[in-house]
Symmetry: D2
Subunit: 79 residues, 4 copies
């Protein structure tokens, strides 16, 4: 999965060619997050995106909802 | 300006009604950043966006380029 | 509503200050459309957006689903 | 190039897997268009995007600016 568990969050960092590619990826993730009604804690600087997933309603622990979103994010990248 | 200087960064937090509004604001900022070729260090969780600006080419200090981008971000919000 | 019925479609044209504002509006509409799983037939040139709504599954006639989407699009503009 | 000249416009139609993929492609194109300050005449229905390029300042004929944008749009698709 390339995601790691850190401090009760499912995390992964992504690197793209430039800002346009990084932000376009974020748009794709935003659609998926909105559809699953499960939103990432994420940050971006230029061509880098860092995503951390946890479930607020489950006391900020990692649940099935986070793994589901992580899998869909991987699918965006063709993984 | 509503921006504060913290650790050599020009910072501001924004709160919106929901994720869609927060992310649409990010799209607006992304266009401006790309046009100015000056990109924010920013993060988002649901309806909250935090932006930190500094100039990499100036040893990560705050320069005119950061104030210019901050003003344009304010303009997006009608400020 | 400012929408008109033309050839079995619910239509409205929108004019913005520039391309960035027009396209950011489209991003907002895209989120709503995706959430309602009901997508517009729309076009854009620079600061202009034209939207035409009809329901494919109802023989391309205007149904409640189109009025619902039109109302949400108006809400994006604060109407 | 896969683009065709029709009525003094450089045109191409694109088909994607679904709306999310089609609209994310549009976001990529929007960034490029804004950077080149040259905007497409385009439309979308669900997974289909149609783009028509011409240069307003040149009496709505096809110029080098249109070919330049077309090439960049192809590059987005890895072509």
């Amino acid at each position: 999965m390339d995601w790691t568990l850190q401090n009760n969050q499912l995390c992964r960092s992504f690197k793209f060619k430039n800002f346009q590619e990084a932000f376009s990826f974020m748009v794709r993730v935003a659609f998926v997050a909105e559809k699953q009604n499960h939103h990432p804690n994420w940050s971006n600087v230029y061509n880098e995106v860092h995503i951390a997933l946890c479930t607020h309603d489950a006391g900020n622990t990692v649940t099935e909802r986070d793994y589901k979103l992580a899998k869909r994010i991987n699918a965006i990248l063709g993984e």
